[in-house]
């Protein structure tokens, strides 16, 4: 009972959508080597927030600091107006679903789920009732209650781990790439279920993954992390449409990136396509940068007048994606990828003209 009271003290009532968790200038270095560099981030109550980045970008370090398994070197983590940086994991209203789940092998499914409730001193009958409720929520059959957790399949273990985290009744659930070790088909199902679970439970989810596809699929907002720096935060749509760097753009889906710089006589040019003027709209303020052209912005044209920018390419290879094909073309030394219906790029014997309109490309600084 006292546990519950202190937890309520820690988290005053916050309305959905208001800032719940605030990372203020969070830095973390290991032996003097900075790993997290001045991260500022507000996470809103009830949102599904995903931190995405390549391995080594520091996503797990941030998650560990949120869970209390690690402390920021400088900076503060504020939850509902109170600093939680110094609180140990068992005193925080956060709970983590581990990458390798960390289920207790000497306990049954039921005992695993009831563990946090047993620690809190909740009476047995209430515990069992709640465990059954949670098993129902994560679609685990009731008869699994007494099953040895090590005899469950990968997907079932996943559900047990999630149910156990919910049993702690945390304000925030943290997910450390729990779906990375699961085969593609099951992963899709679990992603859909997790999203559904998020909607039903009304909890705040913070998820980390290196898979952008996963992030886009489930999240309300995404933060892209690159070597300890938060590059961009926004909805999946914002990040896809308006990446603020070529790193973010290339991380989110296949893309074509050309370095560009202003020509003395006006307009822009790229070393990838010598002698050609590249039109960019609206005209950027910077003289040098990178141009991002999404595969779907590229089209095959018959005549150079059909698009603002047209390049001559040769078909190098094609990969069937089922309903469409991914094509790999080369223009000079530059490789270009695009997705089009089967056969749209010809048979590889003749040159292909590829074009894109000035407003469809994205200009970024770097």
């Amino acid at each position: 009972m006292t546990d519950k009271k202190t937890q309520e003290d820690q988290v005053p009532e916050i309305k959905a959508g208001a800032t719940l968790l605030d990372l203020v200038h969070v830095c973390r270095s290991f032996d003097g080597v900075p790993v997290i560099k001045d991260v500022n981030l507000q996470i809103r109550k009830n949102e599904f927030f995903t931190l995405v980045g390549p391995s080594g970008s520091g996503k797990t370090t941030i998650l560990k600091m949120l869970a209390g398994m690690d402390q920021p070197t400088t900076g503060d983590i504020v939850l509902g107006g109170k600093s939680i940086s110094a609180l140990p994991p068992d005193k925080r209203p956060t709970c983590m679903v581990f990458q390798f789940l960390a289920l207790f092998p000497h306990m049954t499914v039921g005992q695993n789920i009831e563990f946090p409730m047993r620690i809190k001193g909740i009476p047995r009958d209430k515990r069992v009732y709640r465990a059954q409720e949670l098993m129902d929520m994560v679609a685990l059959p009731e008869k699994y209650y007494d099953k040895n957790v090590m005899k469950c399949s990968g997907g079932e273990r996943q559900r047990v781990a999630i149910a156990r985290a919910f049993a702690y009744d945390p304000e925030i659930l943290l997910f450390d790439e729990p779906l990375s070790a699961i085969d593609a088909k099951l992963r899709k199902t679990l992603q859909r279920e997790l999203k559904e679970l998020h909607r039903k439970s009304g909890k705040t989810f913070i998820y980390i993954t290196h898979s952008l596809e996963e992030a886009m699929f489930m999240s309300d907002r995404v933060g892209v992390l690159r070597s300890g720096v938060l590059e961009q935060v926004g909805t999946p749509e914002e990040i896809y449409r308006h990446p603020n760097s070529s790193f973010v753009a290339s991380f989110i889906g296949d893309t074509n990136i050309f370095p560009v710089k202003a020509r003395p006589q006006g307009g822009y040019e790229s070393p990838d396509f010598p002698g050609m003027e590249i039109k960019i709209a609206p005209t950027p303020e910077l003289l040098e940068g990178k141009l991002i052209v999404r595969p779907e912005s590229l089209k095959v044209v018959k005549d150079p007048s059909e698009a603002d920018n047209v390049i001559r390419c040769k078909l190098r290879d094609s990969f069937s994606l089922g309903s469409r094909s991914q094509y790999l073309l080369t223009s000079g030394k530059k490789e270009i990828t695009l997705e089009l219906p089967h056969g749209a790029c010809g048979d590889g014997t003749s040159e292909v003209l590829l074009g894109w309109n000035a407003q469809d490309a994205i200009f970024v600084k770097e």
């Binding site: 546990d3 869970a67 209390g68 398994m69 140990p88 994991p89 068992d90 956060t94 709970c95 983590m96 581990f98 390798f100 960390a102 207790f104 092998p105 000497h106 563990f115 946090p116 620690i119 809190k120 090590m150 156990r164 985290a165 702690y168």
Partner: protein, 300 residues
């Protein structure tokens, strides 16, 4: 489901198993080992068992039958030797668990899972020197004008007079059997995934609850194996009571020794040996029923 299926398949009889063994090429290749085990391991035990039920003071087994040797256990002071051996073994085991567990945890934390196993192998190095020599070393340490007494004398003190006591016997055993306890516990502790500890803490458990509910149960197989090894070995120990203990107490192994040599009463010695084997064997089987070896070796 698989358990039920396993029950349906009847266990093959011993004779059928031997026939299978002879029928298979691998079985035939393994024959020399089986024969060696039979002659070198089973046969002596059978001889001892045979002598234990022979007429007292006779020198042939399997020709007579008598339970008088076992009756002798309850006459005189032999039962005391049994009690001392089992008692000292239990004491040694009980002392070594709280000594070795924290050491093992520290080693795993400092050297990592694999490193700590390598380091615990180092604790076996003293065994390169004969146990007797090492025990005499302790006598040099504790004896009057020895290392301890001499050093304390320089400070106007005096060393404790502890040599040749039952307590010293126990000390010797704790010293000798420490590696046998340490190694399995390190193995047990090293196999507890650190993630589980973190997860338990994250789920609200205090450090103590985490240790009690997660770390200890998962390291328990290692602890049990260590306890078993230590208990079995120290129950049969003799050098400690003879050397540092100065025969202040008679251990059962010594009684067996005396019966076979000085008393020339082989059946009596055999009966003591069989009884000791039975007691230790029963405890071993009981303990092993409680341990899942597959789990320890990570095949769960």
């Amino acid at each position: 489901m698989s358990d039920k299926n396993a029950e349906k398949i009847a266990k093959p009889s011993l004779i059928a198993r031997i026939q299978d063994l002879i029928a298979s090429k691998g079985g035939r290749c393994a024959m020399p080992v089986y024969i060696l085990m039979l002659l070198g391991f089973i046969a002596p035990l059978a001889m001892v068992a045979g002598f234990s039920v022979a007429e007292p003071k006779s020198f042939t087994a399997f020709t007579s039958f008598s339970l008088a040797n076992f009756a002798a256990l309850f006459e005189g002071s032999v039962w005391k030797s049994f009690a001392w051996s089992i008692g000292l073994a239990a004491f040694t085991t009980a002392i070594l668990v709280p000594i070795c567990y924290p050491v093992a945890v520290g080693m795993v934390r400092v050297f990592g899972r694999m490193g700590s196993l390598a380091v615990s192998v180092l604790s076996v190095f003293p065994m390169f020197v004969s146990e007797n020599v090492r025990l005499y070393g302790w006598i040099l340490f504790f004896t009057k004008k020895g290392i301890l007494d001499g050093t304390l004398a320089l400070l106007n003190g005096q060393g404790p007079d502890v040599l040749y006591t039952p307590g010293m016997t126990a000390f010797g055993m704790v010293y000798t059997y420490l590696p046998y306890m340490l190694f399995p516990i390190v193995l047990g502790v090293a196999l507890v995934p650190p993630d589980l500890i973190t997860a338990a803490r994250d789920l609200g458990a205090s450090r103590f609850r985490t240790w009690r509910e997660i770390e200890l149960p998962l390291a328990m197989p290692g602890v049990l194996i260590g306890m078993l090894l230590t208990f079995v070995l120290s129950a049969g120990a003799v050098a400690e009571s003879k050397i540092v203990g100065g025969e202040s107490v008679m251990v059962v192994t010594n009684e067996v020794n005396v019966a076979f040599s000085y008393s020339q009463n082989w059946p009596m010695g055999a009966a003591f040996a069989v009884t000791l084997t039975f007691i230790i064997g029963a405890l071993t089987i009981y303990a092993f029923r409680k341990i899942d070896l597959d789990k320890i070796l990570g095949r769960a």
